[in-house]
C-alpha cells in the first residue's frame, strides 16, 4: 500500500489514541477561529445590517470596501497584521506577534467581511414593509431592526458558518502572524492548517493527515447542521 493509505491508517490511530499534540492543535484552531468568528459577528452583523437598511452619501464606496474585504487575499491580511504587531510596528509594544491573539486578529479580518456581506444580503432581502409593520405594532427603531435581523436569521447563520469556515481553513495569514510554534512537543501557536503544512514538510504524513481528517470532519458536521436547519425551514414551507 502506498503512503496515502498508510497515513490515513496512522492518522485514525492518532485520533483515537488521543495524541496530546493533535488535540492541542485542534483546540487552538477552534479557539482562534471561534473567537475570530465571534468578533466578526459583533462587528460584521451591525455593519451588514446598517448597509442593508440605510442609504447615505458614500454608500457605494462603503459597499465597495466591504466587497474588497470579501476578496482580501489572506496573505495580505497577514502581512498587514504582521507589520502592525511587529516590534517596530505601531502596536509592537503590545508584544502580540506570534501569539494566539495575533492569529485571532488576522482571522477576524478574514471572517468579518464575509459575515458582514452575507448579513447585508440577507437583511436587504427582507421586505421593507416588515420593518414598517413592526413599527405599526409599536416597535421602536431598535426593536424593528432587531426584528428584521431575526427575519434574516437563516441567511445570517449561513454567513456565520461561512465566516468560521474562512477563518479555520486560513493558512497564510495565521502562519505569518502566529508562526506555528511548538516547544518541547507542546503546541503554542500551531493551527490545524499551519501544522499540516509543517508536518508535510517534515515528512510526518500521518500527523498531517490526522489534521486533514479533522478539518474534513468539521466541514461535514457544520455543513450537515446548516443544511438540516435550512431543510427544516423548507419542509415547513412545503406543508403550506
Amino acid at each position: 500500500m502506498g503512503v496515502f493509505w498508510d497515513s490515513i491508517k496512522q492518522a485514525v490511530e492518532l485520533l483515537f489514541t488521543g495524541d496530546a499534540f493533535v488535540y492541542e492543535v485542534m483546540w487552538m484552531s477552534l479557539r482562534v477561529a471561534g473567537s475570530a468568528t465571534l468578533l466578526g459577528m459583533v462587528v460584521g452583523i451591525p455593519i451588514g445590517t446598517w448597509l442593508a437598511l440605510k442609504r447615505f452619501w458614500g454608500w457605494g464606496a462603503a459597499a465597495t470596501v466591504l466587497n474588497v474585504g470579501l476578496m482580501l487575499p489572506p496573505v495580505v491580511v497577514g502581512l498587514f497584521v504582521f507589520l502592525l504587531l511587529s516590534r517596530q510596528g505601531p502596536l509592537g509594544p503590545l508584544g502580540l506577534l506570534y501569539s494566539p491573539t495575533a492569529m485571532i486578529i488576522a482571522e477576524f479580518f478574514i471572517a468579518a467581511p464575509v459575515i458582514a456581506a452575507i448579513t447585508m444580503g440577507g437583511v436587504a432581502s427582507v421586505p421593507k414593509d416588515v420593518r414598517l409593520q413592526a413599527m405599526g405594532l409599536g416597535a421602536s427603531r431598535r426593536q424593528s431592526t432587531w426584528l428584521v435581523i431575526r427575519e434574516a436569521r437563516v441567511t445570517l447563520l449561513a454567513g456565520i458558518v461561512a465566516g468560521f469556515g474562512a477563518a479555520i481553513s486560513e493558512v497564510g495569514a495565521v502562519m505569518m502572524v502566529g508562526g506555528n510554534i511548538s516547544i518541547g512537543g507542546h503546541n503554542l501557536t500551531g493551527t490545524m492548517t499551519t501544522a499540516t503544512m509543517a508536518k508535510v514538510r517534515q515528512g510526518d504524513y500521518a500527523m498531517a493527515m490526522a489534521f486533514g481528517l479533522i478539518l474534513l470532519l468539521l466541514a461535514f458536521v457544520i455543513t450537515f447542521l446548516l443544511t438540516r436547519t435550512q431543510q427544516g425551514i423548507r419542509r415547513r414551507w412545503l406543508q403550506s
Binding site: 409593520q133 405599526g136 409599536g138 421602536s140 403550506s240
Partner: protein, 391 residues
C-alpha cells in the same frame, strides 16, 4: 381579558360624530416621491370612536396617506396630530396607542402565538401577561386552534386573521387597516369582511380603513373620505357620498357607471332638461343655470329595462330612452347590460360611454326579457336617480 369589548358602536351614520373629540387630525400634509406628489391633503379630521374609510382607486395615494397618519412615514410638509398632540414617527408613545394592519399579512417567522405576541413584547409586557392576552385574542378571532401552528403553514385567510389578531391584542385606541381584504380570494374575502365588521362594530377604538372597494366602505364605515390623486375630494357619510357625489370621479368611483356630460338647456320649477353630448334629452331634478355644463351620473341599479316592442306601461318615470343591447355580462346573481341608445331624436354617436347606459338587472329578469346582444330595449331612470354634478 378580551381586548375587544365595550358595547356596540353607537348608532347611525352621522349621529354626533362631528361633535366628538378629534382622534386624528392632519393639516397641509404633503408627501412626494421624486417629482410625483403622492399625498396632498389640506385638512382631515377623524373623530374619536368613528370608523372612517379612505376610499380611492389604486395609485391614489391611499397607502401613503395611511402611513403618514399611522406615523410610519415622515411627511414632506404638514403635520399629524393624535388626540390633540402633534406627533411624528419618533413618538413611540403615540404610535403605541395605535396598531396597523397592512395589505399583506406580513407575518413574522415563527408560530401564530409568537406573532400575536410581538406587539406586547415590544411594549415589554411580562411573558405571562403576553400569553394570557394572546390566548384571549386568538379565541375571540376563532383561531385558538392555530396557536402553535407555524406561520408558513397558514392559508391566506388565516394569515390575515392572525394579522388582525396581532393588532387587536394591543387594544389600540386607533386601529389602522390598509386594504385588509384585498389580498384574499373572493369567497374567503366575504367571510373575512363579515368578521371584520363584527370586530370593528364591537370595538370602541377609532378605526381608519383604507379600501378601493366602495362595498367595503359602505359595509364598515360611518364616514367615507374619497381620495383622488392624493387629495381628499369628498368626505361625508356613506349615504351622502354615494347619493350626492361631488364630482364625476367620486360618482364613477362610488359605483355610478353611467357618466354623461351635457349642458342644461331649459330649467323650470326645479326641473332641468339637460342635453348630453350624445344628444340625449334628460330630465333632472336640479337647480342649474341654463347653459352651464353639467355631469350626469347614474347608478346601474337605478336603470330599469323593458322591451321596446312591448306596450309602454303607465309610469311616473320621466326618462325613457330606447336603444340596442350592446353587451351582457353576468355579475354574480345580477347581469350587467350595456345599452347603446340610438333612437332618440338626434342621438349622435360619440366616443366612450356618452351614448350608452349601463343597467344592472337580476338574472331572472334578464332571462324573462330574453336580453341578449342586439335586443331592442327601453331604458328608464327616475329623475331623482339622476345625479347632477357640476361639470
Amino acid at each position: 381579558m378580551a381586548p375587544v369589548v365595550t358595547g356596540h358602536r353607537a348608532g347611525a351614520a352621522s349621529s354626533g360624530a362631528e361633535t366628538s373629540p378629534v382622534a386624528i387630525e392632519a393639516g397641509g400634509l404633503v408627501k412626494t416621491y421624486g417629482e410625483r406628489t403622492v399625498v396632498s391633503v389640506e385638512s382631515l379630521r377623524v373623530f374619536e370612536g368613528e370608523v372612517l374609510a379612505i376610499l380611492g382607486p389604486n395609485g391614489a395615494g391611499k397607502t401613503t396617506l395611511f402611513r403618514l397618519l399611522a406615523l410610519l412615514e415622515r411627511p414632506d410638509a404638514g403635520w399629524v396630530a393624535h388626540f390633540g398632540q402633534r406627533v411624528g414617527i419618533h413618538d413611540i408613545a403615540a404610535r403605541r396607542r395605535t396598531a396597523a394592519v397592512f395589505q399583506r399579512p406580513l407575518l413574522f417567522q415563527g408560530s401564530v402565538d409568537e406573532n400575536v405576541g410581538f406587539g406586547l413584547r415590544f411594549r415589554r409586557l411580562p411573558r405571562r401577561d403576553v400569553r394570557a392576552k394572546v390566548r384571549a385574542t386568538l379565541e375571540l378571532m376563532g383561531i385558538s386552534s392555530l396557536a402553535d401552528a407555524d406561520m408558513r403553514t397558514l392559508s391566506g385567510g388565516e394569515m390575515q386573521r392572525v394579522a388582525l389578531a396581532r393588532a387587536l391584542v394591543l387594544e389600540p385606541e386607533i386601529l389602522f387597516l390598509d386594504e385588509p381584504t384585498s389580498n384574499l380570494d373572493v369567497h374567503v374575502r366575504r367571510r373575512f369582511r363579515e368578521d371584520l365588521r363584527r370586530v370593528v362594530d364591537s370595538l370602541a377604538a377609532t378605526v381608519v380603513i383604507i379600501t378601493h372597494e366602495h362595498n367595503e366602505a359602505l359595509a364598515l364605515a360611518r364616514r367615507v373620505a374619497v381620495i383622488q390623486d392624493g387629495a381628499v375630494v369628498q368626505i361625508g357619510t356613506p349615504e351622502d357620498v354615494f347619493t350626492h357625489p361631488q364630482n364625476a370621479f367620486v360618482a364613477d368611483f362610488t359605483g355610478a357607471e353611467t357618466i354623461w356630460h351635457g349642458e342644461a338647456v331649459e330649467c323650470r320649477e326645479g326641473l332641468c332638461i339637460v342635453r348630453t353630448l350624445a344628444g340625449i334629452p334628460v330630465e333632472t331634478v336640479a337647480e342649474v343655470d341654463v347653459g352651464r355644463p353639467v355631469v350626469l351620473a347614474i347608478r346601474p341599479e337605478d336603470v330599469a329595462l323593458a322591451l321596446t316592442d312591448a306596450a309602454p306601461p303607465a309610469t311616473s318615470v320621466r326618462n325613457r330612452w330606447c336603444g340596442e343591447v350592446d353587451s351582457v355580462t353576468p355579475a354574480g346573481p345580477l347581469v350587467r347590460v350595456v345599452v347603446r341608445l340610438d333612437c332618440e331624436g338626434g342621438v349622435t354617436p360619440v366616443f366612450g360611454g356618452e351614448g350608452e347606459v349601463i343597467s344592472l338587472i337580476t338574472r331572472a329578469s334578464a332571462e324573462e326579457l330574453q336580453i341578449g346582444a342586439g335586443r331592442r330595449v327601453t331604458a328608464s331612470v327616475k329623475a331623482t336617480a339622476l345625479h347632477v354634478l357640476a361639470g
